[in-house]
């Protein structure tokens, strides 16, 4: 099917619903439509009924207007829906009633920009704790200065968690500081005996103002910031940001650089899956797998440093290409590594796949149904383990994946065991992809200079990171500097999915469920 062949029909649907949609400036690869702010929510209803996947939203503002964007995906085609309201009355209807996944991103826009959603079902703050006053919005154009209350920040003790009443129901508060070595966040469990009745997450603890720090940066500095949105997804976020910037400047990224980016992204996928597979096993007491995968991961990271200069691959991508070429010796070493890793994980994955005590804890634990995964917008291993068959590398391929056959493995069980299986299959698939990339590695330059973007240019980047679809939105100002950056990590959809899949599970299974989902805190707190 040709790209966007569905769009006329969708526009007709909007019209039938009484929504006037106007074509807008495109942000390739996305098409763009604009609706009235009062019809923002209704447009989402139409999209939901049409079968679109809701893929994220963000706000931006200038001196006169507040503008919202959301991405609706259909068959891999991104439609950018926008609406605009005067800055003094930035009122929109909410998309949350139609797409539950929109809840936190709308509240994030409300906290940071002062957007008013007239019918949002949840009036509670999200990203803002108590570091700045309720009516001060760090990204509102009128509030560009410092926060009005720079004193000590009190603990966020007055967040009104939704109560659960009933005989024998009790609350378990956990965090923000956890017992282990993990990022900070708060979990509020309601339980009756061991089964969890409800889990509510309170995040935002690692909010460090990334969106405001991006403003005024040049492309290279934005890439450095993007590399630090979520350290475990540094390639994915940097690539998405670079794609967004490159799309609007018309730069031809050299084919060799694109192939190397593919290699780096797959290396990131393998490293994280290896680490997580072991950590999941460790959480149910199977330390053997943890030690083995940790060993393999360590070797993998050392090679990353040797070949690309960084263990986690930070700052290996730059606007226009990659920072460092892969030497011939490096190429041979990587090939040998792939052979060795395949040999090692063969028997190891067999054991993990078929070890009854492990099955006892993982099979049937933390089930996310396909319906919920879809409704919540999950991509990546979380979506795939629940039967959502989507992968940008195959469904909306960008170079170098447009010349490769990307196998997409899905599972139907939706439990923790399925998430482990999908991850193991992805490791094997990545090894094949990397071999193909190495075999067909084009020669030539590894970077091209980025031309100055046209004034007020906008760009959307979309990359299949190891966690799933990773977006980046960029707007340039008239001087070619960044006026707006929003990175949409897949974790926005992972966290609500965790709240859902833990329902009815016992409290002691929470760590393993959490690990198998592994949402990034930093990636959503921003």
């Amino acid at each position: 099917m040709t790209r966007f062949a569905w769009l006329p029909e969708f526009e007709t649907r909007l019209q039938t619903a009484g929504i006037a949609a106007h074509a807008e400036k495109e942000a390739p690869p996305a098409r763009a439509l604009r609706v009235a702010p009062a019809e923002w929510g209704l447009a989402a209803t139409v999209a939901a009924q049409y079968g679109c996947r809701w893929a994220g939203m963000w706000a931006e503002a200038d001196e006169a207007r507040m503008r919202l964007y959301c991405v609706l995906d259909y068959a891999g085609d991104p439609l950018l829906l926008s609406a605009e309201a005067p800055l003094e009355t930035p009122e929109f209807t909410s998309q949350t009633p139609h797409f539950p996944a929109a809840d936190r991103m709308e509240r994030h826009a409300r906290d940071l920009f002062g957007v008013i959603f007239t019918d949002h079902p949840d009036p509670r703050r999200w990203t803002r704790h108590r570091a700045w006053p309720e009516h001060w919005h760090p990204l509102h154009p009128d509030q560009a200065g410092d926060s009005p209350a720079p004193g000590r920040t009190p603990a966020d003790v007055d967040y009104p968690f939704a109560p659960v009443h009933g005989n024998g129901v009790f609350e378990i508060p956990v965090g923000p500081v956890h017992a282990g070595i993990i990022e900070p966040g708060h979990f509020r469990f309601h339980a009756a005996g061991e089964p969890v009745l409800k889990l509510e997450e309170r995040l935002g603890y690692v909010h460090k103002g990334i969106e405001r720090l991006a403003v005024g940066r040049d492309p290279a500095a934005l890439a450095r910031l993007a590399a630090r949105v979520s350290g475990d997804s540094t390639v994915a976020h940097t690539w998405a940001a670079c794609q967004a910037m490159e799309g609007v400047t018309g730069v031809e990224v050299p084919p060799r650089a694109l192939a190397l980016r593919g290699l780096l992204a797959e290396r990131e996928r393998v490293a994280n899956h290896l680490g997580d597979i072991g950590a999941i096993c460790n959480d149910v007491g199977f330390a053997f797998a943890h030690v083995q995968t940790a060993r393999l991961r360590e070797r993998w990271q050392r090679r990353s440093r040797e070949c690309f200069g960084h263990r986690l691959l930070m700052d290996t991508l730059i606007p226009g290409g990659v920072a460092r070429d892969l030497a011939a010796a490096g190429r041979d070493a990587l090939r040998a590594d792939h052979v060795a890793l395949r040999r090692e994980i063969g028997p190891l994955f067999d054991i993990i796949d078929d070890h009854p005590p492990l099955d006892d804890r993982l099979v049937g634990t933390g089930v996310l149904s396909r319906e919920h995964a879809r409704a919540l917008g999950c991509t990546g291993y979380l979506g795939k383990a629940s039967g959502c068959n989507f992968d940008l590398r195959r469904d909306a391929p960008y170079a170098p994946y447009d010349t490769l056959e990307v196998p997409v493995v899905t599972d139907s069980e939706g439990d923790t065991a399925a998430r482990v299986r999908v991850r193991m299959a992805e490791v094997l698939a990545s090894l094949d992809l990397m071999d193909q990339l190495l075999d067909a590695m084009p020669s030539g330059e590894t970077a091209a200079p980025l031309p100055t973007p046209p004034p007020d240019a906008i760009g959307l980047g979309r990359v299949e990171g190891w966690r799933g679809e990773t977006l980046a939105w960029v707007r340039f100002d008239d001087e070619g500097r960044i006026a707006r950056y929003f990175p949409r990590d897949p974790s926005w959809f992972y966290w609500p999915a965790l709240e859902r899949l833990i329902m009815g599970e016992i409290v002691p299974d929470f760590p393993v469920c959490n690990k198998s989902v592994n949402g990034s805190y930093s990636g959503v707190d921003l």
Partner: protein, 173 residues
């Protein structure tokens, strides 16, 4: 079970010597450290880890300290779940303003004498995030810091060296 045992046997032991071993000066430090830990901390050093706002890159490398190549525990250094059981605090990230109170309280909960290690560029000087409406930047802007380990993120061997150095300075000071 046999498969597992076979795999373990095949893999063997991969633990490497501590990164200090080749360097004469650092070797001396290593010995001193061992002795100092024995005397001052009852043969083990208990660390409480806190991520005060990191991008999670530093956290991944702190994790790596436990892998079989480094196996930090063999030097008597381990991570504990409660600050009340800790001798020292290992902090990563710029301190987000939303984590200020949690960091301060964790630090207060550690019995004295205690010391604080700031790990990673962000923890040392604010790194890419610096000071803003949302971030305090360096850890020392919130709690006193004894040792800084730069790097974005610091490699596991940098972290190990930093830990050794922190004990060293603590013993001298």
């Amino acid at each position: 079970m046999l498969r597992i045992l076979a795999h373990i046997l095949r893999t063997g032991i991969v633990t490497e010597p501590p990164p200090t071993i080749n360097d004469a000066a650092l070797e001396t430090l290593g010995l001193e450290l061992r002795r100092a830990i024995d005397v001052r901390f009852g043969r083990s050093l208990a660390l409480r880890f806190i991520d005060a706002g990191s991008c999670n890159g530093c956290e991944l490398e702190v994790h790596a300290l436990a892998n079989p190549y480094y196996d930090l525990e063999r030097f008597g250094v381990g991570f504990v779940a409660s600050p009340r059981h800790a001798d020292a605090l290992l902090v990563t990230g710029p301190v987000s303003r939303h984590m200020e109170t949690a960091l301060r309280r964790t630090w207060l909960a550690i019995p004295s004498p205690k010391f604080v290690i700031a790990a990673g560029q962000c923890a040392c000087d604010g790194g890419e995030f610096g000071v803003s409406y949302a971030s305090y930047g360096a850890v020392e802007n919130v709690v006193p810091v004894d040792v800084k380990i730069p790097g974005c993120p610091p490699r596991p061997e940098d972290l190990m060296l930093g830990l050794l150095a922190s004990l060293h300075s603590k013993i001298e000071g």
